[in-house]
């Protein structure tokens, strides 16, 4: 399984870091890409990740109201809902896309959510619908 | 370089036969059974598209022209040139024989024009590998479409330049072969020679001129009006999309690019001269930055520049007129040059 996490620099990335420092285990399939804000995650990146073979994609950002840039995570959520609905509409498993609020102190939550998400993705099996083949 | 079965004029004999039964479907079944990759028109909703078919049932022949041109059989939308990792791993070539069933005179002529482009000078090996193995089974046109103008280029829609030509005249199925490959192919079928009365019927059918649009090409005028503001007026509503070029049976521009960093494929994919990125250089200089320049380029390409090779690069299929979202009409534009 390949899971790509776009984690915001200020909360979720620090949260993931905390999980590591606290020696909390989360699936090694999770690959974290640090972004400055969840609000900058372009839906095209998510589709690109699926095209390149990701089985699940997580957008991880600060809790509503906590965004370092005030409102970035609201935009993230807006895009997330639109993309999720559209993916579902064309028949793609929209469960493979997840939005996660995790603060810098929520290392435990981050690790648990990742394990749960991996479970979800594993139940869906490998993502074949958008994976690119020659 | 020409393939052996491409030129109609070289052949002094022609077989003219009558077939009892559904020739086109039987032809597809026969070709498929012999391992051919068969491209034929498939009906999707209200329209037809040339596609690879796996059985005769998929094909449908109730059309004037399929939306896309038959060039996809020899020049597909995208094809892998090289598979690479640290160095070349594999160079894929088309191995199987290819057949197009249901091609019309305009598309058949277009393949001749593409031959000129891809096989003259440097030979394009990917095109050649397909072209050499190509068998064309053409249908004659009974009536023209609203924007057909193939007769302007000396194309006889009742006599396509193909290996095998199928016509339905007066309830009878006429099958003619115009090449060795076509003759070989027809030897697989139960045919009888046409009778005298039938021959007359066929000849009359072939001789009949269809009532269709006519394009007036004045090369001298084109030469003079290159800098005319006419082109800006024509292009005002142009959307710079690729419909005209992607549907055109004679357009051949393509792009090459690599997909995959460490391991991947070098792909060639169709490109359109109407896209501004087609000619954009890395220095940011773009020789055709404005849409009217690109539109003008397309028209001159077809009717003026191509003349150096001796032939117009248009076969009058009318697809670019039918599907231009802005209603730009190549016949009116060229005929109305000033």
């Amino acid at each position: 399984m390949k899971i790509v996490v776009f984690a915001c620099n200020w909360c979720s990335y620090a949260g993931a870091d905390l999980a590591g420092v606290s020696r909390l285990k989360y699936p090694e399939d999770v690959k974290i890409i640090r972004v400055m804000c969840s609000g900058m995650v372009n839906p095209a990146w998510i589709l690109r990740a699926f095209r390149q073979g990701a089985d699940g994609v997580v957008i991880a950002g600060c809790h509503p109201g906590d965004c370092h840039y005030m409102v970035g995570n609201y935009y993230a959520k807006k895009r997330y809902i639109l993309l999720k609905e559209l993916l579902n509409f064309i028949g793609f498993e929209d469960e493979r896309l997840k939005l996660l609020w995790a603060s810098a102190s929520e290392g435990k939550k981050f690790a648990e959510e990742m394990a749960a998400f991996k479970n979800v993705v594993e139940n869906l099996g490998e993502q074949e619908k958008l994976r690119w083949k020659e | 370089m020409r393939t052996s079965h491409s030129s109609q004029s070289l052949i002094c004999w022609v077989i003219k036969m009558i077939y009892e039964g559904d020739f086109l479907k039987d032809a597809i079944s026969n070709l498929l059974a012999r391992g051919y990759k068969v491209f034929a028109p498939v009906k999707l909703g209200d329209f037809h598209l040339f596609r690879e078919v796996k059985s005769a049932e998929e094909a449908d022949f109730g059309y004037i022209l399929p939306r896309n041109s038959a060039k996809i059989a020899v020049f597909p939308e995208n094809e892998v040139l090289i598979k690479y990792s640290s160095w070349i791993d594999e160079i894929p070539f088309e191995e199987t024989r290819i057949a197009i069933v249901g091609i019309k005179a305009c598309d058949a002529k277009a393949i001749k024009l593409l031959d000129e482009h891809f096989l003259e000078g440097f030979v394009d090996p990917y095109y050649k590998s397909r072209r050499e193995k190509l068998l064309t089974v053409a249908i004659t046109c009974e009536e023209p479409g609203i924007n057909c103008f193939c007769q302007s280029f000396g194309i006889n829609p009742r006599k396509p330049e193909a290996d095998v030509v199928f016509s339905r005249i007066g309830g009878k199925t006429f099958v003619n072969a115009y090449s060795d490959a076509g003759k070989d192919f027809l030897s697989e079928f139960n045919l009888r020679n046409e009778g005298e009365e039938e021959a007359r019927l066929r000849q009359n059918f072939e001789r009949e001129t269809l009532e269709m649009r006519k394009i007036e090409i004045d090369v001298e005028k084109l030469k003079k009006s290159f800098e005319s503001s006419y082109w800006k007026e024509v292009a005002v509503n142009c959307k710079s999309c690729g419909v005209c070029t992607y549907l055109c049976p004679t357009c051949f521009c393509f792009d090459i690019y690599d997909e995959g960093e460490k391991k991947g494929v070098r792909i060639r994919a169709w490109d359109s001269c109407q896209f501004p990125l087609h000619t954009l250089e890395s220095s940011s200089h773009n020789p055709r930055a404005e849409k009217w320049q690109r539109l003008r380029n397309r028209f001159y390409d077809k009717f003026y520049y191509a003349l150096r090779k001796g032939d117009y690069y248009c076969v009058g299929c009318g697809r670019c007129i039918d599907f231009c979202p802005a209603g730009i009409d190549i016949v009116s534009v060229i005929s109305g040059v000033r």
Binding site: A44, L47, R48, R51, P64, V71, Y74, Y75, K77, K78, R79, I81, L82, L83, E85, L86, F89, I90, G91, E93, W101, K129, L130, W132 | L44, D46, F47, L49, R67, N68, E77, N78, I146, N147, R213, V236, N237, K239, C241, G242, V243, T245, Y246, D255, Y257, E259, I267, A269, W270, D271, L277, L280, S282, S283, F323, P325, A326, G327, D329, S332
Partner: protein, 314 residues
């Protein structure tokens, strides 16, 4: 005075130097958009075959322009004004309360186009003036499907209105069939549609809201300038190549449609332009529905959808 005469009259009264309106296309019954001056006003025509959206053309023109706009066209014009792409004071909008337009492709299946000379609407019937005589067909048979679910048949913005204001439809029943399908059925349906796409980018090129100088599917317009460095260009993200296959086409269409959430004017230019007849409007409609039902956003709001902050809770 009939509709066309009224339109000409209003365009003349506007005094605008340039007019964006429909004219007859040579050889075919359909009409195309043209940029005209006052002296060409007699060429202006209007019929149920005046299908195109003039909003994209307006963006190329400077100065005062008079334009003929149907309900959906006006939606696009207003959206472009909202986004700062057009100036209201430069426009004189002759609004037309629209009953819907004819699907040219449907018409071509019913009648031989070369025989048709003129098309007009009378009650619930389309009157076709043929080379020999006249023919009547029910409008319902040839109306564009998109028009059946039009929310704003009457222009939301105009200087003069021709025809009487009409009520639009506000439901999304056109999506029901797809929404009721199972996920796998939906995937099969859509992938068989996307498979046809040849990526000619006509949908993008005709869309009045696709005005970006650079599109995400073929970036580098902006990366390549005299000032940009090699690193700029080399590291510029290329999210999608030119490869034509069902999956890449799906990604292209999803990205394109996502950019129209809360903006799409519903003119249906994308579907009309598509030579492969992809049901692109369905994707847009789905987003319209989400925007309306999840976000409670109304296209008539002054704040653009994407700029609006939605406090949707956790």
């Amino acid at each position: 005075m009939n509709e066309v005469e009224k339109i000409r009259e209003e365009l003349k009264k506007s005094g605008a130097e340039r007019i964006v309106a429909f004219v007859k296309k040579e050889n075919e019954p359909r009409e195309v958009l043209a940029v005209l001056s006052q002296k060409d006003i007699d060429k202006v025509t209007f019929s149920p075959l005046s299908v195109n959206n003039p909003a994209k053309l307006l963006m190329q023109l400077n100065g005062k322009v008079a334009v003929v706009a149907k309900g959906c066209d006006a939606m696009a014009i207003r959206q472009l004004i909202k986004e700062g792409k057009l100036k209201r004071e430069n426009l004189f909008i002759v609004g037309i309360s629209c009953r819907g337009v004819i699907d040219y492709r449907k018409l071509s299946k019913i009648e031989k186009l070369s025989e048709i000379r003129e098309v007009r609407l009378e009650g619930e019937e389309v009157v076709l003036k043929m080379r020999n005589g006249e023919k009547r067909i029910p409008f319902a048979e040839v109306i564009e499907e998109n028009c059946l679910y039009c929310e704003h048949p009457t222009p939301v913005i105009y200087d003069v209105l021709i025809g009487e204001a009409r009520e639009g439809r506000k439901d999304f029943s056109d999506l029901e069939k797809l929404e009721k399908m199972s996920r796998e059925e939906r995937w099969e349906y859509w992938i068989s549609q996307f498979e046809r796409c040849i990526r000619c980018h006509a949908c993008r090129s005709v869309c009045p809201l696709c005005y970006c100088e650079e599109c995400i599917v073929d970036p580098s317009n902006l990366a390549i300038s005299p000032m940009s460095t090699a690193e700029d260009k080399a590291s510029y993200p290329r999210l999608l190549g030119k490869t034509v296959n069902a999956k890449d086409n799906a990604i292209y269409h999803i990205i394109r449609v996502l950019h129209h959430a809360g903006r799409c004017s519903g003119c249906g230019e994308c579907e009309r332009a598509c030579p492969m007849e992809l049901p692109l409007r369905k994707l847009e409609r789905k987003l319209e529905k989400v925007v309306k039902e999840v976000f409670g956003y109304d296209l008539n709001e002054d704040i653009p959808f994407f700029s609006k902050l939605d406090m949707l809770g956790d």
